[in-house]
C-alpha cells in the first residue's frame, strides 16, 4: 500500500516535470537572451559559452534525461535568473509564502466556521446577508480586494503600514486579502454541508432526544460538513500559490508567487521546474493528508481502507 502510494507520488512528480520541460522548451524565443537579460550585448563566443554552460547545446532528449536524472537526486541546478541553486531560491521564498498562506488559511477557516455555524438553517436575515457578502467576495477579483484594503487601511487610515518589515503587522492586510475569498468559499460549503446534515434522518433523532439546535450542530452536523470542507481546504491550500501570486504582487511581498511569476516571465527553466515539482509535491502530500483526515472523520471509510 505504502509502496503504491509512493509510486503514485513519483509518477505525478515525473509527469509534472515532463510537462513543464516540454512546455518550457516550446516557448518561442531565445533562451540565451534571457540568460543575459535580453540586451543584445553578448557576442557569439559568449553566447556559445553560456549555451554550453547551461547545457543548451545538447540534443533535447539528452537535456531531458540529464534534467530528470538530476531532479531525481534533488538537484534542480542553478536558476538562470538568480544564478543560485534552485532549491536555495525556493527555500528563501517558501518561508514568507507559507507564513502568509498559513495565516490566511487559519483565518479563513475561523471565519467560515463562525459564519456557517451561526447561520446554517436559521437566522434567515443574517444568513441572506452573509451569503450575499460571500458571493460578492467570491465574485470580485482577489487583486482588487487587496488594492481596496491597502488603500483604505494603509494609506487613508494608516493602520497597517506596508513598510516596516516582516512582522505580524505587515502580514495582516495581505493575509486578510488572501483569506477573504477562501473564507467565503469555505463558509458556503460548510453551511451547505451543515444544512444537508441537518436534513438527514439522524438529525431528527437527535432532536427527539431534546438536544438543542446549537449542540446538534456542534456535536453532529459539523463532522459531516467537515468531510467536504477538508477536501476543499486541501485543494485551496494546494492552490494557494495562485492567490499568492496576486497577493504578493499587490503587497510587494517576497515569496513563491513572485518568483513563480518571474520564472515564467523570464523562462527560468530550472527554477520553474523546481517550482512545479514543489507544488506538485505539496498537492500530492495534501491529498494524502486529506485522505488521512477523512479516515479520522468518517469511521465508515476505515474498514474499507484497512
Amino acid at each position: 500500500m505504502a509502496l503504491r502510494r509512493f509510486g503514485i507520488i513519483a509518477a505525478v512528480l515525473w509527469g509534472a516535470a515532463t510537462i513543464t520541460f516540454v512546455a518550457v522548451k516550446a516557448i518561442p524565443g531565445d533562451p540565451v537572451a534571457i540568460l543575459t537579460g535580453g540586451e543584445n550585448v553578448v557576442d557569439a563566443a559568449e553566447r556559445e559559452a553560456l549555451v554550453r554552460q547551461f547545457g543548451l547545446d545538447q540534443p533535447l532528449p539528452v537535456q531531458y534525461l540529464r534534467y530528470i536524472g538530476q531532479a531525481l537526486r534533488g538537484d534542480f541546478g542553478d536558476s538562470y535568473q538568480y544564478r543560485q541553486p534552485v532549491l536555495e531560491v525556493i527555500g528563501e521564498a517558501a518561508g514568507p509564502t507559507l507564513q502568509l498562506a498559513g495565516t490566511a488559511m487559519a483565518l479563513a477557516l475561523g471565519l467560515a466556521f463562525v459564519s456557517a455555524l451561526a447561520t446554517a438553517g436559521r437566522r434567515k436575515g443574517l444568513r441572506t446577508v452573509l451569503a450575499g457578502l460571500e458571493l460578492a467576495v467570491l465574485s470580485t477579483p482577489v487583486y482588487w480586494v487587496g488594492l481596496l484594503l491597502l488603500t483604505v487601511f494603509s494609506f487613508y487610515l494608516g493602520w497597517f503600514p506596508i513598510i516596516g518589515g516582516e512582522g505580524i503587522h505587515a502580514l495582516i492586510l495581505p493575509a486578510i486579502a488572501l483569506c477573504l475569498p477562501l473564507a467565503a468559499l469555505l463558509a458556503q460549503v460548510l453551511r451547505d454541508g451543515l444544512e444537508e446534515a441537518l436534513l438527514q434522518p439522524f438529525a431528527l433523532t437527535v432532536r427527539t432526544r431534546g438536544v438543542s439546535e446549537t449542540q446538534l450542530r456542534l456535536r453532529h452536523a459539523l463532522r459531516h460538513a467537515a468531510l467536504a470542507v477538508s477536501t476543499l481546504t486541501g485543494t485551496l491550500f494546494a492552490g494557494v500559490l495562485a492567490g499568492s501570486i496576486l497577493t504578493e504582487t499587490v503587497f510587494g511581498r517576497a515569496g513563491v508567487g513572485q518568483i513563480t511569476l518571474q520564472a515564467i516571465k523570464t523562462r527560468d527553466m530550472p527554477l520553474l521546474l523546481g517550482l512545479v515539482m514543489l507544488s506538485a509535491l505539496v498537492s500530492v502530500l495534501i491529498n494524502l493528508a486529506v485522505d488521512a483526515l477523512y479516515l479520522l472523520i468518517d469511521p465508515r471509510l476505515r474498514r474499507a481502507a484497512r
Binding site: 433523532t205 432526544r209 438536544v211 438543542s212 453532529h220 472523520i297 474498514r303
Partner: protein, 560 residues
C-alpha cells in the same frame, strides 16, 4: 427472547407509573403551508394511551401517521401548524401537563426526557460518525441526568436492557458495524435512556428481516409490560395485530376506526379497514384477487413434464470484498422455472436472492455452474450472442426509478425494447406503447411524463409495461412490490397474475415477504446464505416445512 429489566434505584428518575393515562390527544389538526393555502394533512384525530398500553396506528402511505407522531414531540416539520383541543402528557407525578404552546426550550425538556422517539429508518437514524455508546448516552448527557463518569456504565445497562449482547463491545462500535436489528435496538435504547414514560415508535421494523423483527417486537412487549405507554406507527397490519392492545386505522388524515386490536382485525367496521385487511397477501388469499376480493379464475392447466424454460445448475457466485474476505452469494444453487409457472424465491436479506436473479438474467457470470434458457446455453454465451435472445427474458425490479434513464419519458422507456428488438416504425411503436400502457391500467397521459412525476405504483406498472413490450416468455421479478404499500401492492400483484394468465408467462419471483411469495408462487425455493435449503410446491413448503430454517422463518412471521 431474553429481555432483562434492570432496576435503577440509583437514578433520580421515576419509573413509569403503573396506571393512568399517559397521553391524551383530542381533535388534533396539522396543516402545512402550500401554494393554495394551508393543507390539512391531519384532520381532527383523538386518541389516548394508557400506562402499559400499546396503541398502533395503521394506514397506508401518506395518511398522516408520521406527522402525527412527530407533532407529539413538537417536530411536525418546518412551517407546520398544529392545533389541538387538548394535548396532554402525564408528568412524573401522574398529573397531566399540556403540550400546546410550548417554547423550543420547553420542548427540548420534554423530548427524550418524557417522550422517547424511535424513528422509521433504523439504518440512517443513528449518526454514522459517532459510536453507538455516545448516541445512546446522548439524552443522559443532554438532560444532565448523570455525571459523565457514570454514563458509560449506564449505556451498557441500557444496551443490555434492549437485548444487545456484549454491550461493552457494541458501545464502542459505529453504526455501520452493526446489523439492522442491532441498530434498531440501539435506537430504542437511546430513546429509553432518560426513562420516558411514553415511547413513540414510527415503523420500527420496516427495514428488518422477519426474524429480527420478531426480536424487536419482543422488546416492545417487554417495555409495555414494564409500564411504558407505547405509540406504534406501522403500515403492517400483522405487526399491529401481534403487538397492539388497541388499533387506530388512519386514512387521509382521519382516524376511521379505533378499537381493541382483536375487534378491529376480526370484525372491521369501516369499509377502508376491510379493504386494507383483504389486500394483505397470505395463504388465504391464494386464488383470490387482492384488490377486489373476488375469486380469480384458475390458472390455465400446465402441460405436464415440459422442459423448464430456465434452468440453473450448480450455480456459485463469490464476491471478494476490498478486505479480501470472500462472500459466497450463491453456492451450488440449482433451480428450474417452467413455462407459465411461478417459482418464488424467499429468504432473508443478504441470502443471495438478487444475485440469483442477476445470474438468471446473465448480468453476472457465475463462478461455477451454468444457466440454460429454453434448454440452450445462456450464461456461457457471449453478450453479443445473447443480445438477440434477451427480448424473451425480461425483468421487473424493486426500484424502477433506478432502472430508467432519468432523461427518458415514459413513452421512450416503453419503446426502448421495441426499438431494440423490432423494426416497427415510429407510429407503430407509439401505438404499441399506448396499448401496453392500457394493458397495465395506466391512463395514456402518463406517456409524456417522466418517471419522477409518477407514484411508486405507477412506476412499477411502467416497468411491467416495458418488460412486456418485447413479448417475453420469462419475467424475473426482484422484490417488485416491497417498496409499495399494501393496497398498491395488491393492485400490482393482481396485475402480474392476470398477465401471467393471459400471456402464459413464466416468472421467477423474488421476495423476502413470505405472504407475497405464498400468494404468488406455484413452487418455492427457500434461500439462506447463498444456499437453497428447501424447495417444493408452495403449499408443501409452507404447511409442512422440512428444513429447520424454514420452520424458524415461518414461526417469526406475524399473523393477522
Amino acid at each position: 427472547m431474553n429481555v432483562q429489566l434492570v432496576g435503577r434505584q440509583d437514578l433520580t428518575l421515576a419509573a413509569p407509573a403503573s396506571r393512568g393515562t399517559i397521553l391524551e390527544v383530542e381533535d388534533l389538526h396539522i396543516a402545512f403551508p402550500s401554494r393554495l393555502g394551508p393543507r390539512e394533512v391531519v384532520r381532527g384525530i383523538s386518541f389516548q394511551i394508557g400506562a402499559g398500553e400499546i396503541l398502533a396506528i395503521v394506514g397506508e402511505s401518506g395518511s398522516g401517521k408520521s406527522v402525527t407522531a412527530r407533532a407529539l414531540v413538537g417536530l411536525a416539520g418546518p412551517g407546520s401548524q398544529v392545533h389541538a383541543k387538548a394535548l396532554r402528557l402525564a408528568d412524573h407525578d401522574g398529573e397531566p401537563r399540556s403540550l400546546t404552546g410550548l417554547s423550543e426550550r420547553q420542548w427540548s425538556r420534554i423530548r427524550g426526557r418524557k417522550i422517547g422517539f424511535v424513528l422509521q429508518d433504523a439504518l440512517v437514524s443513528l449518526d454514522p460518525l459517532r459510536t453507538i455508546g455516545r448516541e445512546v448516552g446522548e439524552p443522559l448527557l443532554t438532560h444532565g441526568l448523570l455525571p459523565r463518569n457514570e454514563i458509560g456504565k449506564e449505556i451498557e445497562t441500557l444496551l443490555a436492557r434492549v437485548g444487545i449482547p456484549d454491550p461493552a463491545v457494541r458501545a464502542a462500535q459505529y453504526p455501520h458495524e452493526l446489523s439492522g436489528g442491532l441498530r434498531q435496538r440501539a435506537l430504542i435504547a437511546s430513546a429509553l435512556a432518560a426513562r420516558p414514560r411514553l415511547l413513540i415508535a414510527d415503523e420500527p421494523t420496516t427495514a428488518l428481516d422477519v426474524t429480527v423483527q420478531q426480536q424487536i417486537l419482543g422488546v416492545f412487549q417487554a417495555l409495555a409490560k414494564a409500564g411504558h405507554g407505547i405509540l406504534l406507527i406501522t403500515h403492517d397490519l400483522a405487526v399491529a395485530a401481534q403487538l397492539a392492545d388497541r388499533i387506530a386505522v388512519m386514512q387521509n388524515g382521519e382516524l376511521v376506526e379505533t378499537g381493541p386490536a382483536r375487534a378491529v382485525l376480526r370484525d372491521p367496521r369501516h369499509e377502508y379497514t376491510q379493504r386494507l385487511l383483504s389486500a394483505v397477501p397470505s395463504a388465504a388469499t391464494r386464488g383470490r384477487w387482492l384488490s377486489t376480493q373476488g375469486t380469480r379464475p384458475a390458472k390455465p392447466p400446465q402441460p405436464e413434464r415440459v422442459e423448464p424454460i430456465l434452468a440453473l445448475r450448480d450455480i456459485a457466485v463469490r464476491f471478494t470484498r476490498p478486505d479480501r474476505s470472500v462472500t459466497h452469494a450463491a453456492n451450488g444453487v440449482s433451480l428450474h422455472v417452467h413455462p407459465g409457472a411461478t417459482l418464488g424465491i424467499v429468504g432473508e436479506s443478504g441470502s443471495g436472492k438478487t444475485t440469483i436473479g442477476k445470474v438468471a438474467l446473465a448480468l453476472r457470470k457465475p463462478d461455477a455452474g451454468e444457466v440454460l434458457f429454453r434448454g440452450h446455453a445462456w450464461s456461457q454465451l457471449s453478450e453479443r450472442q445473447r443480445r438477440p435472445l434477451r427480448r424473451h427474458i425480461q425483468t421487473i425490479v424493486q426500484d424502477p426509478l433506478n432502472s430508467f434513464d432519468p432523461r427518458y419519458t415514459v413513452e421512450r422507456i416503453i419503446e426502448q425494447p421495441l426499438l431494440l428488438h423490432t423494426d416497427l416504425a415510429k407510429a407503430e411503436r407509439s401505438a404499441r406503447a399506448q396499448e401496453l400502457i392500457q394493458l397495465v391500467n395506466l391512463p395514456p397521459d402518463v406517456l409524456d411524463r417522466r418517471p419522477t412525476a409518477l407514484s411508486g405504483g405507477q412506476r412499477q406498472r411502467v416497468s411491467i409495461a416495458q418488460a412486456l413490450a418485447s413479448e417475453p416468455d420469462l419475467l424475473i421479478c426482484d422484490e417488485p412490490v416491497s417498496a409499495l404499500d399494501v393496497t398498491t401492492q395488491a393492485q400490482v400483484l393482481d396485475l402480474l397474475i392476470a398477465l401471467q394468465h393471459r400471456l402464459g408467462l413464466a416468472m421467477l419471483f423474488i421476495s423476502h415477504d413470505l405472504g407475497v411469495i405464498r400468494h404468488m408462487s406455484d413452487r418455492i425455493a427457500v434461500m439462506k446464505d447463498g444456499v437453497i435449503v428447501e424447495t417444493g410446491p408452495a403449499d408443501d413448503v409452507f404447511d409442512a416445512p422440512k428444513h429447520d430454517y424454514t420452520r424458524r422463518l415461518l414461526a417469526a412471521v406475524p399473523r393477522l
